[in-house]
Symmetry: C2
Subunit: 500 residues, 2 copies
C-alpha cells in the first residue's frame, strides 16, 4: 500500500493538544465523581452500610479530576479528528478504572482489583457480565451503582455513536454524518458534540423515566424499577438478582423489557427525528431500512425460538413458550443479556443461535452492541451485488440504502470493520483457550464481550467469577474493543497514529 | 440495489445450451468411468476380492456417460460465463455421486448410501473426512480408489482454480486472469481450459511421481507410497491407516509430506512459470507476495506450536517436538488434515489454533482449501488502509499486490467472499447443532468441511462414522461450497441466475 496523495496538514501531536486532552479528561473525571453520590444517598436511605466506599471514591475521583484539570484549564485547543480517537478511548478507560474504586473499597462484595476492574468496565461498556454472585446479599448502594454505571455508559455510547463515530468515520458510520442533530458542516468537534448530547439526553432520560414507571406499575418496587430501567435502556443487562429478570417471573415485566429493549436498540437519531415535533411520527421508523431489517430479524428469531420450544414441549402452554421465546430472543439479539429461568437448559442449538444473533446486535446509534444491523444490511446488499456481478459481469450495480446510493468508501469501511471484528474474535478466543478455558466457554465469552452481550455458556453461563484473571483482562479488552467499534481503539496501536 | 446500466446480451438458457452442457457432462462421466479400472486391477494383483464392485461401477458409469453424451453429441454451443457455473457444479456433484457407486456396491466396507456419498464427496473435494474405521482391514482396491479419487479431485481443483474461476471472477480471482497460461483475450472457455489443463497436468503428475518416489525411498511400500503421494499432492489427507501418517512413525516421511504439502499449497500457475524454462527458477516463488505471506504464516504457526509443545514438555526431546509441530502445523494449515499420534491429546488451544489456521488455507490456484492466503492478504491490506484513512481522512491510498494496483472490483469480490464464507459457516454450524451435535463437534466439523480440511475435534476427531445422517448431508454441502469457492454454487440458488 502506498500514500498516493495526501491533502491537508499532517502533524505530530503538540504539547498544547496533549494538555487540552488532559483538561477534558480532568473535567470528565471531576464530573464523573458525582456518580458516587447517588449510591451514597441510597446507602443512607437503606442504612446498608455501603456508603463509606462511595464517599471515599467521590473524594478521590473529584480530587484526581481537579488535579488533571487545574494546570491545563486554559489549554483549549480545538479537537481534530485524530485527537478525537484519543479522547474517546481515554474517556472509557479512565472512567472504567475510576468506576472500579467503589468495588475495590467496598467490604461487600469483597472484590480483587481484577474483579473490580472487570465489573466496572462490564458496567460502563453496557456488557453486563458480572463476577459477583449472591447479588441479593449486597448493599443496595452497590446494586444501584452497577445499574447507574450501565446507564451512564449507555448515554456515553449514544453520544459516541450518534455524534462522534460518524465524524471519525469508524466502520462506515460516516453514512450518518448528515443525520446528526446540530450544525452539519462544522469540523470542530466540541460544540457539536455538546449540542447533540443535550438533545439525546432528553430522549434518553424520557425513555428511562417511562420504562421505570412501566416496571413499577407492573409490580416492581421503586428501587428495582429504576435500576432495571437503567440497565434496560442502556441494553446493559445487569440485574439486582442472580436470577436476572427471571426473578420477577412476570410476563408483563418481560413484555415491558422487550418493548424498551427494541426501542433502545434503534438509532437514537431516529428517535430524535420522530420525537422532535408534536407527538411521535411512527412513519419515521418504518421509513428507515435499518429499523425494518432489525424488526424482521427479531421476528424471525422469535418465531424460530418459539417453534423449537413448542416442538420440544419445554413449557406447559404456547403462551408461556411465546413469553419465553420473545423475551429471550430479544434480550440476546439486542445484546441486553437479561435471562429468565430455563434458558441455560434449552436445547443446545438455541443458546448458540441467540449468541450468533448477538453478532448482528442493535442498530447503529443505539445502546445495543454487536456489528450492527446497518452493517449487516450493507454486507448482504454487497453479497447480492457480487452474485449479480458474477452473472452479469459487464453490468454496473449500485448499492442503495433508504433510496440513497452508498459510497464505495462506506462499503470499504464496513468490510474493514467486519474483517477486524472476525480477526479480533479469533485472537481473543484463541487467547482464552490458551489460558485454559474450554471451547464452549471461550467461544461464548468472546462473543459475549465483543458484542457487549454479557452472559455466555459453559463456565460463564451465570457469572464470570470462576475463570482465571488473565481471561478476565482479555475479556475487558474485548468489551472495550466491541464498545469502541474496534477501530477507535485499534488505531491507537498503530505507529501511523502517533508518528506521522 | 438497482441495475443502473447493463451492457451485453442477457438471455435465458436455450435448449441448445442445455444439450451442450449435458454433452460435456456425459463425456466427463464416460471418461471418469476409467477411474474404476485401476482399483479393479489392484484387486486382481492383491487378490482382495474387491474387484467386482469396481467392474460394475465401471460399466454403469460408462453406460450413463454414453447415454448422456450420444443424443447430444452434435450440440456444441460455446460455453459462456453463466454456463460455466453450471458445468463446474455439475462436474463435482455428478462425479461425486458416481464416485460413490463402488462404496455402495462393495461388501467391505458395508456403507449406507449416505456414507458412500459422504466418502465420495469427501474424497473428490479433497476434504479427506472419512466415515470408515478399520482401514487396515479393507480391500486394497478400496484404499487405492480413495486415494485416486482425491488425486483426481485435486487435479480438478487446480484446473478450476487456475483456469475457470478467474474467468468466472469468483471471489476476486479475476486477479489471476492475466497469469493463466494460454490465450488470454479469448472469451471462449473450452479451448483455453483444455490447454491450461494439459500444462498443469504435467506439473501435477511430475510432483506426484517425485513425491511417491521420496515416500518409497523413505521406507513406505510401493502401494502406500503411491497412495499417499496421491493424497499429499491433492492436499486430501486420506490415509490407508486409521493412525494416518502417524502409522509410519517416521520423521523422514513427515518431512517429505511437509515439503510436498507446502509445494502443493502454492499456486500451480506459479509452478508453471517457474518450471517452464530450463530448470526451476526459485526467484519466481519469492517474488510472489502470496507465497511470501504463506510461508510467513507457516513459520509463525510452526514456531508457536513448537514453543507450546516445548513449554508443556509433551515430548522427550526438542527434535521430536519440532517434528510433531512442523508436521501438524503444516498439515492442518494447508488443509491436508493428516495427523500423527498425540495430536488429539495436545492442549486444547493448539488443535483450535490449527483449525482456525485452516480458514486461511493454501494459496489460490493450489489444491489447498480455506479462504486462501491471497484473500487474507488483501483483507489485511484493506484493514490497514481503513486505519490509515481514519487517521488521514482526506488522503487517498491504493492497495497494491506484487507492485500492481488491485482494482476495487477485486477487493469488493474478496469482501463478498469473506462475508459469504462467514455467513455459511454460521448457517452450517447452527444446522449441525440443531441436528444434535455438541458445540465442539459442530464448530470443528463445520470448519473441517468448509475449509476442506478433514479431521475435526470432539465426536469427529478421528472419523465421521458416528454422527447422524442429516449432519453428514449438511457436511457434504459444506465441502462442496468450500471447494467451489462458495459463489460458484451459491449463484445457482439465485433466481437471477435462471431467469434474467
Ligand atoms: K449487555
Ligand atoms: K484435506
Amino acid at each position: 500500500m502506498s500514500l498516493a496523495y495526501a491533502n491537508g496538514k499532517v502533524n505530530k501531536f503538540d504539547p498544547m493538544e496533549y494538555r487540552s486532552i488532559i483538561r477534558i479528561i480532568g473535567l470528565l473525571v471531576a464530573l464523573f465523581s458525582a456518580t458516587m453520590l447517588p449510591p451514597a444517598v441510597i446507602a443512607v436511605i437503606y442504612k446498608d452500610g455501603g456508603g463509606t466506599a462511595f464517599m471515599q471514591a467521590f473524594v478521590m475521583s473529584l480530587l484526581l479530576g481537579l488535579i488533571l484539570w487545574y494546570p491545563n484549564r486554559r489549554a483549549k485547543a480545538d479537537l481534530r479528528t485524530r485527537e478525537g480517537f484519543l479522547v474517546v478511548v481515554l474517556f472509557w478507560t479512565v472512567l472504567g478504572t475510576i468506576g472500579a474504586l467503589p468495588f475495590v473499597m467496598s467490604e461487600l462484595p469483597d472484590l480483587s482489583l481484577t474483579d473490580a476492574i472487570f465489573e466496572s468496565f462490564s458496567a460502563l461498556t453496557t456488557t453486563g457480565a458480572t463476577v459477583i454472585t449472591g447479588l441479593e446479599t449486597l448493599p443496595k448502594a452497590i446494586l444501584f451503582y452497577r445499574h447507574l454505571l450501565q446507564w451512564l455508559g449507555g448515554m456515553g455510547i449514544i453520544v459516541l455513536a450518534v455524534a462522534v463515530l460518524p465524524m471519525l468515520g469508524i466502520g462506515g458510520m460516516q453514512l450518518y454524518r448528515c443525520e446528526i442533530p446540530g450544525p452539519v458542516k462544522d469540523s470542530k468537534m466540541t460544540p457539536r458534540i455538546a449540542e447533540t448530547a443535550k438533545a439525546l439526553w432528553y430522549i434518553y432520560l424520557t425513555m428511562t423515566v417511562v420504562c421505570a414507571l412501566a416496571y413499577y406499575l407492573a409490580g416492581m418496587n421503586l428501587f428495582d424499577a429504576v435500576g432495571h430501567a437503567f440497565s434496560t435502556i442502556a441494553i446493559g443487562g445487569f440485574s439486582s438478582y442472580d436470577a436476572s429478570m427471571g426473578h420477577f417471573n412476570s410476563p408483563a415485566i418481560n413484555m415491558i423489557c422487550v418493548v424498551f429493549l427494541l426501542m433502545s436498540a434503534m438509532n437514537f437519531a431516529l428517535h430524535f427525528a420522530a420525537f422532535s415535533k408534536r407527538g411521535i411520527r411512527l412513519a419515521t421508523y418504518w421509513r428507515d431500512a435499518e429499523v425494518r431489517m432489525f424488526l424482521l430479524i427479531q421476528l424471525v428469531l422469535v418465531m424460530l425460538v418459539f417453534l423449537v420450544l413448542l416442538g420440544q414441549k419445554l413449557y406447559q402452554s404456547p403462551e408461556v413458550a411465546l413469553d419465553k421465546a420473545l423475551f429471550q430472543a430479544v434480550s440476546m439479539s439486542t445484546t441486553a443479556g437479561f435471562t429468565t429461568e430455563g434458558f441455560a437448559t434449552w436445547p443446545l442449538f438455541l443458546p448458540n443461535l441467540l449468541i450468533f444473533a448477538s453478532f448482528i446486535g442493535g442498530c447503529a446509534g443505539s445502546t445495543g452492541g454487536g456489528i450492527k444491523v446497518v452493517r449487516m444490511t450493507l454486507l448482504s446488499l454487497q453479497g447480492m451485488r457480487e452474485i449479480k456481478r458474477l452473472i452479469h459481469p459487464r453490468a454496473m450495480f449500485s448499492i442503495r440504502l433508504n433510496n440513497l446510493p452508498v459510497s464505495d468508501r462506506v462499503i470499504d469501511a464496513v468490510w474493514g470493520f467486519f474483517a477486524a471484528y472476525a480477526l479480533l474474535f479469533v485472537v481473543i478466543m484463541v487467547t482464552l483457550l490458551a489460558t485454559g478455558l474450554d471451547d464452549v466457554t471461550a467461544f461464548s465469552a468472546t462473543a459475549a464481550s465483543l458484542n457487549n452481550l454479557g452472559p455466555g455458556l459453559g463456565d460463564v453461563a451465570s457469572h464470570y467469577g470462576d475463570i482465571n484473571d488473565v481471561a478476565k483482562w482479555v475479556l475487558v479488552m474485548g468489551m472495550l474493543f466491541g464498545r469502541l467499534e474496534i477501530f477507535t481503539l485499534l488505531v491507537l496501536f498503530t505507529p501511523t497514529f502517533w508518528k506521522s
